[in-house]
């Protein structure tokens, strides 16, 4: 288990679409999904839209829970006066991140784990607009309890590394898309996390900047041995001119068709 930084086993997720207290359809996103990433690997998760790539990343990053949630009442199909509660989101499975079973993480422990182990990079940067670049980058360290001085020092070092030190005291609204994404990457790195989870980091960027960002990730993976899991549509950018894959591997997710529910008896046995 320890050689794997991320180990997903038998992960299931199903979305139950409920309309007017009737179960209309079920969409199986994952069926017994197994996925593992070794330390220092760089894996790209690819697949069509709606196949669950971001969902997988959110689950690994502990932003989304594995089990059932969002319970709603529906009528039992044969006995309309009787109601039962079913989850709109069904799920189960096991996910281990850096040896930790994330199902066991709750409250402050979960927050601490996310802060210290995971760096998340989003498609749309998600920087806090009122804070400057250096303040945004320093945020995870300050959340971790480090002093403002130490956090700012680390943030500045990262900005220098990314050749962005002149933007330190600028707010995100005057930075370009690529610069914002670099700030977001620096923010994700400031706490020296074991894992970087990037959800379509180049999705909102100009093609000119996409390659830069991908190269940055590759450099980080090689130099700092950070385990990276990246969701991307842009598979071509992962290959070099010699058509060789620049990262460790690709993990394809297949599509998940919606299956309508017709005449199916909805009862407790299905959902417990």
């Amino acid at each position: 288990m320890d050689e794997f930084m991320i180990n997903v086993s038998n992960l299931n997720r199903t979305y139950n679409l409920i309309e007017g207290k009737q179960l209309v359809s079920r969409q199986h996103i994952f069926r017994n999904l197994n996925f593992s990433v070794k330390r220092g690997e760089f894996v790209a998760v690819i697949g069509p839209s709606g196949c669950g790539k971001s969902t997988l990343l959110n689950i690994i990053g502990s932003l989304d829970s594995i089990g059932n949630k969002n319970y709603a009442k529906i009528h039992q199909s044969c006995e309309k006066d009787k109601e039962i509660k079913i989850p709109e989101v069904e799920g189960d499975g096991a996910v281990f991140v850096n040896g930790q079973d994330i199902r066991l993480l709750k409250g402050a422990n979960k927050a601490r784990f996310i802060n210290q182990n995971i760096g998340f990079i989003f498609q749309f940067h998600h920087l806090i607009p009122e804070l400057t670049a250096v303040q945004n980058i320093a945020l995870p360290m300050q959340i971790n309890g480090q002093s403002k001085k130490e956090a700012f020092k680390a943030a500045m070092n990262l900005l220098i590394e990314m050749d962005m030190e002149k933007h330190a005291n600028r707010k995100p609204d005057i930075l370009s898309g690529g610069e914002k994404q670099r700030v977001a990457i620096a923010r994700a790195l400031v706490n020296s996390p074991h894992i970087l989870l990037a959800d379509e980091p180049t999705g909102s960027l100009h093609p000119q900047f996409k390659k830069d960002i991908i190269n940055l990730f590759i450099r980080l993976n090689h130099e700092k041995q950070i385990t990276i899991v990246m969701v991307t549509h842009d598979v071509d950018s992962l290959y070099n001119e010699q058509k060789n894959l620049m990262i460790t591997s690709l993990f394809p997710l297949s599509g998940s068709p919606v299956s309508p529910v017709t005449g199916k008896k909805a009862d407790d046995k299905t959902f417990n």
């Binding site: 959110n58 990053g61 932003l63 989304d64 409250g107 402050a108 927050a111 601490r112 784990f113 996310i114 802060n115 210290q116 995971i118 998340f120 989003f122 998600h126 920087l127 806090i128 009122e130 804070l131 945020l139 995870p140 300050q142 959340i143 971790n144 403002k148 923010r187």
Partner: protein, 430 residues
């Protein structure tokens, strides 16, 4: 502190400013009310201590008996500053305000009286006529008192409008040994004059009117007893009420008026006799003090509604802030911020508003009291506040601060809870 930094960006500055301003006004109003009420308290205390000795011992006694008690108690209790015998009696009297004029007196009608003065050496008859201006027949409380070193036990000098030469009530002759009308003080409001000649006839005790001199009136403010108060010397009272060699009260003044309860208990233990009834000014006016306290806190509660309005504004602003900042809160959660830190951000915001409003509200309230008193001085004096001054105690500030800050902190709880419950994925996809 990170939470403090983030709390600054929680609400737009203009809203923070307006909310704080509303809170400052609320605190200032509370401080003004408490400051003015303190004056009312002081005025009332002044009246209470003016019309009651600090401690009274009641028992029907002769002069000698009272002297024995006085000597005994004074020896045993060093806290006593002044102790004198007195006579307290309720009587019905016909009191007439008169103009005195020299006259050859033949009584033609019931409204003309004559006063004869006879010199000891010669028979000298001077007749005075009394033209009655106003007459009233009322029940009054007569207090016949002694002045110890020209100072009464009751501190009623502060209540006097008119002659403050208290010795006049114990002057029975002038320098030529001619008899003087006996001096007395009467509660203000019965007659319009502050001094002058009066004729008093104690019904059922005497069969004729006697001449007295009103030395001054007693301004009781809003504190009026069951019967109007008349103060004269013990000798005058005994003579007028036909109570020769009779004392029914011993008046005591102590150095620390607020220790009256303790000293009363000491006296009770000393005298150890059920015939003695021992009262102190605090007991007598407990109901009044309680009433004042209740009124004070009722007014406080009413004025506190301004702060409640400010708190409701803060609550609704924070509630909307959570909705507007779902994305930011989700970002913080995605970066690993704890739920408790998110709570702290909201609490710090309201604490900040509470602290600033308390400090500036107290300052505004204190100086506002000056302004209030300056513009409404006459009206306040009519309410019984004599020479009002702004006054704030640390106790008042503490109560206002605790109530205001506590209220504001409460307003942060629900919005903070809503912020903590935000699903980061939903928030980020907003």
């Amino acid at each position: 502190m990170l939470e403090l930094t983030l709390s600054k960006y929680l609400v737009k500055r203009i809203y923070t400013f307006l909310l704080t301003l509303g809170a400052i006004i609320g605190v200032a109003c509370l401080i003004i009310i408490l400051s003015l009420f303190y004056n009312y308290y002081l005025s009332s205390e002044k009246v209470f201590m003016g019309i009651h000795p600090h401690i009274e011992i009641h028992k029907d006694m002769t002069d000698q008996e009272s002297l024995k008690v006085i000597q005994y108690v004074q020896q045993q209790i060093p806290e006593i500053e002044n102790i004198q015998p007195a006579l307290y009696l309720q009587a019905r009297a016909e009191i007439s305000e008169v103009n005195r004029t020299k006259a050859f007196c033949v009584q033609h009608d019931g409204n003309m009286l004559c006063h004869s003065r006879v010199d000891n050496v010669n028979e000298l008859h001077t007749r005075y006529g009394f033209h009655i201006i106003k007459k009233q027949t009322i029940d009054i409380m007569v207090k016949g008192i002694c002045l110890g070193n020209n100072v009464p036990v009751m501190d009623f000098q502060k209540l006097i409008n008119g002659g403050t030469n208290l010795n006049r009530i114990e002057q029975y002759e002038d320098t030529n040994q001619n008899p003087l009308p006996w001096g007395f003080y009467l509660e203000q409001g019965l007659f319009s004059t502050l001094s002058g000649y009066f004729l008093i006839h104690f019904k059922g005790i005497e069969d004729r009117k006697k001449q007295y001199w009103l030395n001054g009136v007693l301004d009781m403010g809003t504190k009026k007893g069951k019967y109007p108060l008349m103060i004269m010397s013990l000798k005058s009272a005994r003579h007028s009420l036909k109570k020769k060699d009779f004392v029914n009260t011993i008046e005591i003044r102590i150095k620390q008026p607020y220790n009256a309860d303790k000293v009363s208990q000491k006296i009770r233990n000393l005298l150890n006799n059920k015939d003695f009834l021992i009262e102190n000014w605090i007991n007598k006016e407990t109901a009044s003090f309680t009433f004042l306290t209740i009124i004070k806190w009722m007014i406080f509660a009413i004025v506190f509604s301004i702060s409640i309005v400010a708190a409701i504004s803060i609550f609704s602003t924070l509630y909307l802030t959570v909705l507007e900042n779902r994305k930011k809160i989700s970002i913080l959660k995605a970066l690993g911020m704890k739920d408790s830190s998110i709570y702290i951000i909201f609490l710090l915001k309201t604490l900040n508003i509470g602290l600033i409003s308390t400090v500036f509200g107290c300052l505004l309230g204190y100086y506002g009291s000056y302004g209030f008193i300056y513009f409404f001085k006459e009206s306040l004096e009519k309410l019984g506040l004599e020479n009002p001054q702004p006054h704030i105690s640390m106790n008042d500030i503490s109560i206002v601060a605790v109530c205001t800050i506590g209220l504001f902190l409460l307003t942060a709880i629900i919005p903070a809870r809503n912020a903590v419950k935000i699903d980061p994925i939903e928030g980020l996809n907003q």
